[in-house]
């Protein structure tokens, strides 16, 4: 590894940290400085002046915004996410298990979706413009037009209600055996997989096609290499970076999909937690969870960029 790469990667990471800080400001500002009084919004129109004043005091709304921001940020950086207003519980403690649940669900969805999407993308390229390709593209177009809950409830209706193969509601608890846990998350994981599959596959197809149409692939064919050897030796090394990029971008997309899917299956994860507390207008929880989602999303995007940098031969072997 030579210096330009290290420099570029370092730059990208530094930029990412800067972005995260900016995002934390944005999320804080989004909940604090927007028109409308937070306390009023929480308590509703019928609140008495005393209760409003109390709440303002409790939220520290009497202090200037930037002081509240640094106070909040300092807490976040030391692992103190504050307390939920609606329940008075410590947010960090309530999040821990839910975060683990969400990651567990997203992990299994990714494990299925990534190889499946890449395989289907490869098949589409292999039989490009044939009926297989058209079918795959058509299904992909359709499924990008489907709302997540349509896919989710279709799965529930068929697999949980009509056939009762899997539970319609994904209850998980501490100390649940892995097998049972996997069965419980089968449907939400399948829904998530379908949500990201189409995007991932279409982008993989485009990335590989782009490489397959380059002149060096023609050169390899004209050397007499078999189709498999052309793909393995010449297309794959150049396609790997864009594919990693595609995968990471779609994992980031999965972060969003998980919110809706958790609500559909009443799965005790971060998404469900966020939506519940948005409804309750519990600002500290929304800030904390929103920031975590944004951080995951940004990290995945950074990894995607770094993969592209590292895989670029021009950067790996400078002049």
């Amino acid at each position: 590894m030579s210096s330009p790469i290290v420099k570029l990667v370092a730059q990208r990471i530094a930029l990412g940290i800067l972005l995260l800080l900016a995002v934390s400001v944005l999320i804080f500002a989004g909940t604090q400085i927007l028109p409308g009084d937070v306390a009023q919004a929480i308590l509703g129109q019928s609140a008495t002046p005393e209760s409003l004043a109390n709440l303002r005091e409790q939220l520290g709304l009497n202090q200037p915004a930037y002081i509240r921001y640094f106070h909040w940020l300092g807490g976040v950086l030391t692992g103190d996410l504050g307390t939920a207003m609606s329940s008075g519980q410590d947010i960090a403690t309530s999040i821990k298990e839910r975060l683990w649940n969400t990651l567990f669900l997203a992990f299994w969805a990714a494990i299925v979706a990534i190889p499946l999407a890449i395989t289907l993308g490869l098949i589409a390229v292999r039989y490009r413009n044939g009926w297989v390709d058209k079918l795959i593209s058509g299904v992909a177009l359709a499924s990008t037009s489907f709302p997540e809950f349509f896919i989710g409830y279709l799965l529930v209706f068929y697999f949980a209600v009509q056939h009762q193969w899997f539970p319609a509601i994904s209850t998980v608890y501490d100390g649940m055996p892995l097998g049972e846990r996997l069965q419980a998350i089968a449907l939400p994981a399948a829904a998530l997989t379908l949500v990201v599959l189409a995007h991932m596959m279409r982008m993989t197809r485009a990335a590989i096609l782009n490489v397959m149409q380059s002149a060096y692939v023609e050169t390899a064919e004209l050397k007499g290499l078999s189709a498999a050897a052309v793909i393995r030796k010449h297309a794959f090394p150049n396609a790997i970076a864009p594919i990693i990029n595609v995968v990471m971008l779609n994992l980031a997309y999965l972060v969003v999909g998980v919110v809706v899917v958790e609500v559909i299956f009443v799965y005790p994860g971060m998404g469900q937690y966020l939506v519940d507390h948005v409804t309750k207008r519990d600002v500290p929880v929304v800030q904390a969870v929103g920031l975590i989602f944004a951080a995951v999303y940004i990290t995945l995007n950074i990894i995607a960029d770094i993969a592209a940098i590292v895989a670029n031969p021009r950067l790996r072997h400078p002049k």
Binding site: Y216, T219, L222, L225, H234, P237, P313, H317
Partner: protein
């Protein structure tokens, strides 16, 4: 270089080759078009056949058919391709794979794109040899190094360890030739191998290819649009047009005694009658000591450049890529305000910045671009494109404007039917003509022509040059003609400025600039332009060697 042990029958025998492709025009049903109509050719062992023609002649398609390969949706639908005594089209995929990279190898136009960026050069050079098992890795690499040396590549021992992006374009083209030769094939298909290179680089690559062909006794199909280039390397030449054979004969016969009118036109394409005019006393436009830079003064692209253009005359600015010739145009037009120096037009100094120039100055100074397709708004009709300057500068409206547009279309030898067409409905030459009409509409005193013919086929370019000279007679307009093509310069210029790395290295009337003694760079440039003479290449290379020995 006759191969003494020639087997009976030619190496390659293509009979009645028919090649078709399916095209998918947007919004219409797909249809099949024929690219090659029943073309036949034969090639003996160790001989070189040049395939020549303009774009769309089918020359690359025919070349690739010798490997049983069709690009995109291209299919061989008729005829036989007999290589070493067997029809390769009946051998199936497996048969084609065995022959590609072993019996026939390919050298592409852009080696920069044809090498895989992820692998080292050596691995790619020996890949076909190892694949077909004709040599061990050590042998193949030894052979490759010998070829690198033969092709005069720098550091032949170590260049193979490099990645494609670490090597220059001219060198890559030679590495690609080494790659083709490495598996010791019977036939190599060279597909415009020097077209993307500067002239001074082209001559070295050309001579390296020629020596390699001679020493290895390989046969070759040499595909190009440049007759002078192909005359240097081929034994025979085949002229193609629209996928049909026009004429096929020995190199001498084709370039000296062409039998077909089309061939004759190709041969005499650079001959335009033009009487050189002597520089007048008062220049119309003077560029005085102009220095210009990009990136806030960091990259100096013009250094202290001074040239004059006289009324109704043509100044040609020649140079290779990166010489700063196009930047000179940008400095004159005000697109890139000069750091130092000034541009004097008709006795008054022009404002440096485009935005500060009055409309009248803008009108007097028009520009024509290299790529006519992107120089016209694709959403405007020819009528709008030519009519706009009339509206804008002269306030012409309605019938008066339409009448003038029709006159201008007449002047550029295009009929009335074109007024309502969009640029996409015109051919390359017609597009450039419309651009010429647009600049003439402003009634300018000077037109800057930036490589206006280099994207066009030779015959079309010839027509455009003749038109420009005619219009100069009629409209008394001066040209600043920017080009890399010395042949063009010789045919139309009155005075010439030779540019090299941002500086004018030679400047004066045409006859003066083209008369010895030359400075080193002009000499190199002039001696690099291929001439339609058999044996020119050897003479030019010899001349260079003597000179470098003399220095």
């Amino acid at each position: 270089m006759v191969d003494g042990k020639a087997k009976s029958g030619p190496l390659l025998d293509i009979r009645n080759l028919r090649i078709e492709a399916t095209v998918y025009p947007p919004g219409e049903a797909p249809r099949t078009i024929t690219l090659v109509h029943d073309v036949s050719l034969t090639l003996e062992k160790g001989k070189v056949l040049g395939l020549i023609g303009e774009s769309g002649a089918g020359k690359s398609t025919i070349g690739l058919s010798s490997m049983g390969y069709g690009r995109g949706g291209v299919r061989i639908t008729g005829g036989e391709v007999i290589l070493n005594g067997r029809d390769i089209l009946t051998g199936g995929k497996e048969g084609l794979r065995k022959l590609r990279g072993r019996e026939v190898c390919y050298v592409a136009q852009s080696a920069a794109a044809a090498f895989n960026p992820a692998h080292r050069l050596m691995d790619q050079v020996v890949e076909a040899t190892l694949l077909h098992g004709t040599a061990t890795r050590a042998e193949a690499e030894k052979r490759a190094v010998a070829l690198f040396r033969k092709l005069s590549l720098p550091n032949p021992e170590t260049i193979g360890e490099r990645f494609p992006h670490q090597v220059s374009g001219g060198q890559l083209q030679r590495v690609m030739t080494a790659m083709a030769l490495c598996s010791e094939p019977d036939l190599i298909v060279f597909d415009e191998p020097t077209t993307a290179l500067d002239v001074t680089t082209q001559i070295d690559v050309l001579s390296a290819i020629k020596d390699a062909i001679r020493d290895t006794h390989v046969a070759a199909l040499y595909i190009t649009h440049d007759l002078a280039v192909v005359a240097q390397v081929s034994d025979e030449i085949m002229v193609l047009r629209h996928g049909r054979l026009v004429e096929w004969g020995g190199t001498h016969q084709i370039i000296k005694e062409p039998r077909q009118e089309y061939t004759n036109a190709l041969v005499s394409v650079h001959q335009i009658e033009h009487q050189e005019q002597q520089p007048g006393t008062t220049p119309m436009l003077s560029v005085k000591n102009v220095t210009a830079a990009y990136g806030g003064g960091h990259v100096k692209v013009l250094k202290n450049v001074s040239v004059d253009i006289f009324p109704g005359q043509t100044l040609a600015v020649v140079g290779e890529s990166g010489s700063g010739k196009s930047t000179l145009a940008r400095a004159i037009t005000g697109l890139l305000p000069p750091e130092k120096g000034s541009v004097v037009f008709d006795g008054r100094t022009l404002a440096n910045r485009l935005a500060d120039r009055p409309k009248e100055d803008l009108r007097q100074l028009q520009m024509i671009y290299q790529m006519a397709d992107v120089a016209m708004n694709p959403r405007q009709t020819v009528g709008t494109i030519i009519g706009r300057p009339l509206e804008f500068y002269f306030g012409m409206k309605g019938r008066e404007r339409d009448k003038r547009v029709a006159e201008l279309l007449d002047e550029i030898e295009m009929g009335k039917g074109f007024v309502d067409r969009y640029p996409a409905e015109l051919s390359g030459g017609q597009k450039q003509r419309v651009c010429i009409a647009r600049s003439l509409a402003a009634k300018p005193k000077l037109i800057i022509c930036d490589e206006v013919t280099s994207a066009l086929d030779p015959l079309v370019a010839h027509g455009i040059l003749k038109l420009l000279l005619n219009l100069q007679q009629i409209e008394k307009v001066a040209y600043l003609f920017i080009t890399h093509d010395l042949a063009t310069v010789k045919s139309i210029a009155d005075s010439i400025a030779v540019m090299y790395r941002g500086e004018v290295v030679r400047y004066g009337s045409k006859s003066k600039v083209l008369t010895p003694p030359f400075d080193a760079y002009t000499d190199l440039l002039l001696s690099s332009v291929p001439e339609m003479e058999i044996g020119w290449l050897e003479k030019a290379i010899k001349g260079r060697r003597m000179e470098s020995a003399g220095n």
